[in-house]
Assembly symmetry: C2
Homo-oligomer: 385 residues x 2
């Protein structure tokens, strides 16, 4: 649909909750928003007017989708590089570009680039056999972390390996197309952090406060903004690393740099070039949310203020549990906590699946965390009062 | 579309900016949201997936729209009462009900009810001729305020009348169907206020901070929350009046009570039973926005906290000016003020038309107002730097 007041159309490939929440920001800004969703019931497909149904791996579908979009961006990193390059060759603005996105799609590519720029990284190596893993472990100690270079997310494609037999067992499973094995030194971290930045094509960048994240079975379940007790020195260092990665890799849009905090140092774990679970707190908790700043960045508009709106912000993910009807929890959680902000993604409930999140703003992160966990557990059905 | 996680579907009749902003709240809460819009390019029709095109005066269209909705509510007050009564008779939950909504649809009906409950009101009378107006003025002094009982909004259907000749001239225009004339005492106010409350079917109600509003040519253009310098006593009185009106008229959803502040007293001017321009500040400025609380109220869910997120919140409406392309202002206004929150409604620009609003949070309302006005004026094209 042509925008009546001259606004551009942003096309987002992927119809998950990130696209759904970006749609809210686009609606507020009056920016045209189109989504390519795999199915009619994807979280974003349920709410966005200009939705197209098709696979992100289907060249024809992606090319048809992009027609009429002023810029194309992503809800996930899984669009094949050759399709992205073809879009760019046709004159479509693809942000982030295929060459930037490659670093979020391929962990070997990412490690090579980060090592080259001197970003703090664990020791790592490309491996092909369990013997290669054993050789790496001989130099860096067991356990090691074995990863597939492509296709991993939410803890998939990542194994902590204690010995060569475990490596052999994991590597017996054939790799997906274009994917390779890499092994990394196990980093004995005290906690995980995330540093998010937004960057625009003309090079403006803003850094969000560094947050503390908690992963449960590889899935981000809790975020505290800003990270409690993080020294100004380490916080600044994390922001500088994220800003430098964004610049050196020519990232456009949101970049999340997931970090290990070892107590006295930080080490880069993963990159994501899109809005990220570690930034959901920013919808209410920051002056400008990650979703709005992603849109502003890919449109090359001046970026918004990433500051927090309160001393502490806590986000807790709602995971699917035994109760299929999430809505049935509203009466209880809303009555119990009138300050609670709830986001449900419209997904069918499956055990362990991310189906929503809750956010709380206040002065005391510990107290907010208790309240947020209670609500999330009530949605999941693990508590009933 | 059936909601996968058990959520209900709220149907909103009317596809304007209120429906558009309610859609954002529904998306966050994971609540199904359907809109009946007059045209495909209405503000809400541009962004809502489940949009139906039809007139709110078309019985067939409204009945078809309501099928499958768990509750039906409104973006405006213009749905004919007989259609609403038929919906209710068919078992559709209509919130607010036809009998409550009648007080927002018909100013004579409203004045009768407010007088009966003893709410502070100007003197008023039903009139049929200019001689009736003159007789009323003989008792209450010129000028008087002449109104049509139905169909007025944004200053339409309201005239300040200085003498009998003016009354005769205005009343020469035939009234719309079902509309009557009423006359009210002119209230010498020092400023206008708005008191908003949300109320649910089971009777829970919450009161938003009383705000100061500024009307320009009958259109709300500026809102300051909370109203600067309002005594606790008058603020409490205004909230109590709004809560009492909501209860006595059995309002469900948001109620806005527009008030005149005479310096030492408050007088009820108008009622609106829906989200209202005087509450747009609450999207970022309150813990729970008027749009979210409207949804929670019509679904009979516990209501959210209406408290402000900062000491002062300012909203300035963007009116259409000479520049058709609103988006072209983004580069300037965003660069100038990274804290600015902008909402554009997707409307074609026409001079004087409400096409968006901006919101700012902070400590000093005067300073926020300067910044908000600058941005709104830049969008309108009345300033260019």
């Amino acid at each position: 649909m042509k925008q009546l007041d001259g606004a551009p159309i942003v096309g987002m490939i992927g119809g998950g909750q990130l696209a759904r929440m970006t749609a809210e920001a686009a609606t507020a800004l009056g920016i045209g928003f189109r989504v390519l969703a795999a199915t009619d019931t994807d979280p974003a497909a349920q709410v966005v007017r200009d939705v197209r149904i098709g696979s992100h791996e289907d060249r024809e579908a992606v090319l048809a989708f992009a027609q009429g979009c002023d810029v194309v961006t992503f809800d996930h990193e899984h669009v094949p590089t050759d399709i992205l390059k073809e879009l760019a060759a046709l004159g479509v603005e693809v942000r982030p570009s295929a060459s930037a996105l490659a670093h979020a799609q391929d962990k070997l590519h990412m490690r090579q680039a980060l090592t080259k720029m001197g970003a703090p990284s664990p020791a790592w190596a490309k491996v092909e056999t369990s013997d290669d893993v054993a050789k790496f472990a001989a130099e860096n100690n067991w356990p090691v972390v074995l990863k597939t270079s492509r296709g991993g997310y939410d803890g998939k494609g990542v194994w902590v390996i204690d010995d060569v037999d475990q490596a052999r067992a994991v590597m017996a499973t054939p790799l997906a197309k274009n994917s390779l094995w890499l092994v990394e030194q196990f980093v004995p971290f005290v906690r995980e952090l995330s540093a998010q930045v937004a960057r625009s094509p003309h090079g403006q960048a803003v850094a969000y406060p560094v947050v503390q994240t908690k992963q449960t079975n590889g899935i981000c379940t809790e975020v505290i903004a800003p990270a409690p007790g993080l020294s100004d020195e380490l916080a600044l260092k994390a922001q500088q690393i994220a800003l430098r990665i964004a610049q050196e890799l020519d990232v456009v849009g949101m970049l999340a740099v997931e970090l290990f905090d070892t107590g006295d140092a930080i080490v880069v774990n993963e990159l994501a070039m899109r809005p990220h679970n570690s930034g959901h707190w920013s919808i209410e908790g920051a002056v400008t949310s990650q979703f709005e700043n992603h849109l502003r960045a890919v449109l090359d508009l001046p970026l918004g203020d990433p500051s927090t709106r309160s001393a502490a912000v806590v986000m807790v993910n709602v995971l699917g549990g035994t109760v299929g009807n999430l809505y049935s929890a509203y009466r209880h959680v809303f009555a119990r906590d009138p300050e609670l902000k709830v986001h449900l993604y419209g997904k069918e409930v499956k055990p362990g699946r991310k189906v929503g999140h809750v956010t709380l703003l206040g002065d005391n992160a510990d107290e907010l965390l208790v309240r947020g966990r209670h609500a999330a557990d009530y949605f999941s059905g693990t508590i009933n009062e």
